[in-house]
């Protein structure tokens, strides 16, 4: 952005651009490329190349004894429309949707409370949200498993307090998978909502204008605060929905393999079924779905922001 606006300024009077100015422009261009090279190199080697490889493999055939046979085919894409695979996709989309809504329902009030808290409390609450980022998600999942398994902390406590007489079977159920995923994703929903609510409530002019026009606090929330924090909702939802769609080890660990998401399905193609080409086409499919969702989200946000009715 900086570089571009610098360019625009110079264009105003192209004839009279001095040598020093030209050199400066040249150097800033050169600097820009130098800064881009490491990142671009990284992305090419570790992102673009594997993706292209995956795309390539997705058009190859499965070898007789597993592995890849280098023969072009569309079979892997046709196979994606098999009921088995569609079913897995549907389970994943539904799961991701529910997890996103749950996160939103919990994160929004929480973020609101954080923004309106006194500065000291706010620091403390934000700290609680940020702590999980310092620990591996795998370790946190194990900790959660330890909390809810039959001899875990929760059951022991409830038994001791005589709330229950039999330990609750929580682990290795769909409930555990929902809980695990929700717990893992919650901070990703809270932070964008926090940022968006923070900037909205920082300048209370829109809320005051709404009140001035007769809106009660509740009406002002629904008609002003909620629409004006759509960007936070959209970003948070994307940050939760997309990783959840591709979730892998949480269903594996907390669901005991009983709940198969598309992530597990793809993993199995590579790890146990030894069907790399189908695994590849399935991941291309998931990427396509994700891209469509991102595009829809941007379109929605753009509409929400330019006030089209």
């Amino acid at each position: 952005m900086e570089l571009r606006s610098y360019g625009d300024v110079s264009v105003v009077n192209p004839q009279r651009r001095s040598l020093a100015e030209r050199l400066k422009r040249l150097r800033s261009r050169w600097m820009m490329w130098m800064l881009l090279i490491p990142v671009a190199g990284w992305m090419i080697v570790f992102f673009a190349f594997p993706q292209l490889l995956m795309l390539f493999i997705s058009f190859m055939s499965q070898g007789v004894y597993g592995g890849i046979a280098y023969r072009f085919t569309l079979d892997n894409y046709i196979q994606m429309f098999s009921p088995v695979f569609l079913n897995v996709i549907w389970t994943s989309v539904e799961f991701s949707f529910v997890v996103t809504v749950l996160c939103l329902a919990v994160a929004y009030p929480f973020a609101y409370a954080v923004v309106t808290a006194s500065p000291r409390r706010r620091m403390f609450l934000l700290f609680l949200v940020i702590i999980p980022f310092w620990t591996s998600q795998l370790i946190r999942t194990f900790a959660l498993m330890f909390l809810i398994n039959t001899s875990g902390l929760l059951n022991t406590l409830l038994l001791q307090l005589h709330v229950i007489s039999q330990p609750l079977n929580l682990l290795y159920t769909p409930f555990a998978v929902y809980l695990g995923q929700f717990y893992a994703m919650l901070p990703y929903m809270i932070l964008p909502l926090y940022a968006s609510l923070q900037s909205h409530l920082e300048s209370p002019e829109f809320l005051e204008a709404a009140q001035d026009l007769g809106a009660s606090p509740a009406q002002a929330f629904w008609k002003i605060t909620l629409p004006l924090t759509t960007s936070g909702i959209a970003v948070g939802s994307m940050l939760v929905f997309i990783p959840t769609l591709a979730t892998f080890f949480i269903p594996l660990l907390m669901g005991g393999g009983k709940m198969e998401m598309v992530g597990n399905f793809i993993g199995n193609q590579f790890l146990s079924s030894d069907n790399w080409p189908f695994g590849a086409s399935a991941s291309v499919g998931v990427i396509a779905i994700t891209l469509v969702l991102i595009a829809l989200m941007f379109r929605f946000m753009k509409n929400a922001f330019l006030g089209e009715s």
Binding site: F206, E208, A210, Q211, D212, G214, P217, Q219, L228, S309
Partner: protein, 361 residues
């Protein structure tokens, strides 16, 4: 005499031990155009926000149409505000912004459309009914903000420096527009500005706010000709403030002495006794520069001094005259009258004492 539509009874506001509004009393009549005028930070916005209900007074009482408002939340008060930064809702278009208040009041659909169109016609923005507010210019947003407020037919319209963000030409234009709208809708306007010219041009009455106090509340002519304090005299237009001491008094005159001259003025209702210090205020335009031989009205003071500086301001000339070691006064003359005068020249000044105000110190 109509009952006041707004009554402020010794309202005060203290933010964390700083008192920014201090015992303001005001009574505003229905249909009046009242301006709160004061320098930046004097507490004008705070007064307006207390009327709108966004701030609670620390002390005092606010009544609208005789109904006490202190415990009424902002959304139930019969007033609407035009905010300084407009505060148009960015996610709604022009129509939806203006319809916002009407929809909350559950007006029927067709009625809403009719009223929104009428309000837009009032501010001459009919063509932009479906426009996105972000795409409007500052002046157009200003008009939409006014329409959004007046469409609700409030008893009182509050305007907080509504023209502050506009350039000079647009400002002048909108001042006239606002006057017209005020005449057309006939509702009470309470207008905040720090621009004294704007206040004098637009208002029925001006409330001069000085450091949280109401310094004077009167029609523009009276604020100009009979300012209540030296601050008001200096803030409205320009003035010469001259320190003096009451040297003598008889039945209906005071004798006042300054470092360079003394004069006798007719007594006003102030309770001033000999020996007391006073401040005199004479407007530059009330001072007349005369040559030594020119005829002089009887009973008018005459003071001599040295011309130290001349500055052209349009068709007028501002002449600075040193009349004492500590005192330089400025006079405003037409360029024609000032012709031929040179810096360093000895001149005499005279003025009509009816146009001079005496303040007890």
């Amino acid at each position: 005499m109509l009952d006041p539509i707004i009554e402020l009874q010794s309202i005060s506001k203290t933010f964390e031990s700083v008192t920014v509004v201090n015992g303001v009393n005001m009574s505003i009549r229905a249909g009046e155009f009242v301006t709160l005028l004061g320098p930046s930070g004097s507490g004008k916005t705070t007064i307006l926000r207390m009327i709108a209900g966004f701030e609670q007074p620390t002390a005092g009482r606010i009544a609208i149409s005789g109904v006490e408002m202190n415990d009424v939340p902002a959304h139930r008060r019969p007033v609407n505000t035009v905010f300084q930064q407009y505060a148009l809702f960015p996610h709604l278009n022009v129509f939806d912004n203006i319809a916002f208040g009407l929809r909350l009041k559950k007006y029927p659909r067709s009625d809403i459309e009719k009223r929104v169109k009428a309000a837009l016609a009032m501010v001459r923005m009919e063509a932009h009914i479906q426009a996105k507010v972000r795409k409007l210019s500052g002046g157009q947003q200003q008009r939409v903000a006014i329409a959004r407020a007046i469409v609700n037919e409030p008893k009182v319209l509050l305007l907080d420096e509504p023209l502050g963000a506009l350039d000079m030409k647009l400002r002048r234009e909108m001042q006239l527009e606002l006057k017209r709208i005020h005449r057309d809708v006939g509702i009470t306007f309470i207008y905040v500005t720090h621009d004294q010219e704007e206040a004098m041009a637009m208002s029925d009455r001006v409330a001069v706010i000085h450091a949280g106090h109401l310094a004077q509340f009167a029609p523009p002519e009276e604020i100009y000709s009979q300012p209540s304090t030296p601050f008001v005299a200096g803030f409205i237009g320009e003035t010469n403030l001259i320190e003096a001491i009451v040297s003598d008094a008889d039945a209906d005159h005071w004798r006042l002495s300054t470092e360079s001259f003394s004069l006798s003025v007719r007594k006003r209702n102030h309770d001033i006794v000999p020996g007391e210090r006073v401040t005199l205020s004479v407007r530059p335009e009330a001072l007349r520069v005369i040559g030594g031989s020119q005829a002089q009205e009887p009973h008018q003071p005459i003071v001599t001094g040295t011309l130290t500086e001349r500055v052209f301001v349009g068709a007028m000339v501002k002449t600075f005259v040193r009349i004492g070691p500590e005192t330089i006064v400025q006079c405003l003359e037409t360029a024609v009258a000032a012709q031929g005068r040179r810096i360093g020249e000895e001149v005499a000044l005279t003025w009509n004492c009816d146009h001079m105000v005496t303040f007890p110190s």
